[in-house]
Amino acid sequence: MTDSTHSAQPRPLWVNAEITYRCPLHCVFCYNPLNYASTFDKELSTEEWVRVLREARELGAVQLGLSGGEPLLRDDLEEIIAEASKMGYYTNLLTSGIGLTEKRIAAFKTNGLDQIQLSFQDSSKELNDFLSSTKTFDLKLKVAKLIKQYDYPMVLNVVLHRLNIDHIEQILQMAESMQADHVELANSQYYAWAFKNREYLMPSREQLERAEIICNQFRERLGNKMKLYFVVPDYYSDRPKACMNGWGSVFLNIAPDGMALPCHEARMLPGLEFPNVRDHDVRSIWFDSHAFNAYRGNSWMPEPCRSCDEKEKDFGGCRCQAFMLTGDAANTDPVCSKSPHHTLITDQVALAQRLNLREDEVKPLIVFRDDKNSRLLSPQQPSPGIV
């Protein structure tokens, strides 16, 4: 294939390298696939990552997310950063901070890491530790200091939901005292582990409105000193999000086992065989694979998307959400009020308006993201011993 063949086609601009699904935290809203533990013995090597990043860079990719799991669990992260930076990527590390020592951050700086995004679960030690099922809060505060000390902008990411959204004032006070430059307050999206725990995580409308008011007060007072992004759950909208800016349009996700995906969640979709970077180069994956072309453009769209004048704006929403809620990934995202399945969203939102849900309305326990649960929730694999 020559470049001219694909000159008019979209190219990947953003690569998200999920270098491991291993993680010391067990967050109840994690978006990693439920069967993440199945990748543990298949992780790409350093050399394979470097090759994949080079192939994507040659296609024009320029933003690189290094994420996971917890990317710090890979002891070759320094090397991957150095190689990616030399290739001309803008390199972002997305981390819980667990394992970020001064030695490592110094090496990242030398090797050209551009940006660190640190996640917090809550402003209170108790809830942070409960939600991630660990004792990590004090450690994260130390890491926040290191990030400042090494002259990185402080980018704080706090996933909001029903159990912590009422702490928004304390969360923002914490951010201010840490001299955060950017604070991303994104409500949990309901995929994977967060979908399992959806009834526990979805805030009420009243909670959202209150949080937004407090957010605006901080914005007015701090202006550009601390930039705030507040993202409401898409369930509260009547038009779907322009998920990934369209399937196979700008975003390329590489899972720890080398599976190439058009988004973080697509692994769940049945009937699509996602190519692996071990078997194919990024160019053929992006342009020629069936999976990356399946929902590209709009010829795949059924009604009501097909005749909708907003189809170029939101691309029919999210394929994974359509699949999870309606059973068919080609359906209109039910968040859209034009979707015949929209009541699946409004019923769930109605449930979230009640303060105390009955036991039969929610699953009895929050499902923590841990290796045992991951193996329990994986589809049964035939045992290699019995062929």
């Binding site: 933003q63 803008y90 551009d114 995004q117 002259d151 950017h182």
Partner: protein
């Protein structure tokens, strides 16, 4: 703010400017995104080096494109870039 000022301009610390062959354009990279620049925006931003002031940049551009009155356009763009937080000065 007035751009005609003797202090040197520099890119804000989260921003990086680079030429992208595949896009045939300069792009401005920053956390969570990128901006593909038009030809003239790229020509202006690539002259921001932490040493040159707005006047230096105008002089350099006028030397490269003799006979064209660029001053106001350059000032307008630099103000835009400053207000967007792409560039700053010490």
């Amino acid at each position: 703010m007035s751009m005609v000022h003797p202090q040197p301009l520099r890119l804000a610390r989260q921003y990086k400017l680079q030429w992208e062959t595949t896009q045939n354009a300069y792009v401005l990279l920053y956390p969570e995104g990128l901006i593909k620049l038009t030809g003239s925006a790229g020509e202006i931003l690539k002259r921001i080096d932490g040493k040159s002031s707005a006047s230096d940049i105008i002089n350099a551009l006028e030397a490269s494109y003799p006979g064209v009155d660029l001053k106001q356009d350059v000032i307008d763009f630099l103000e835009h870039a400053y207000n967007k937080g792409w560039i700053t000065r010490d």
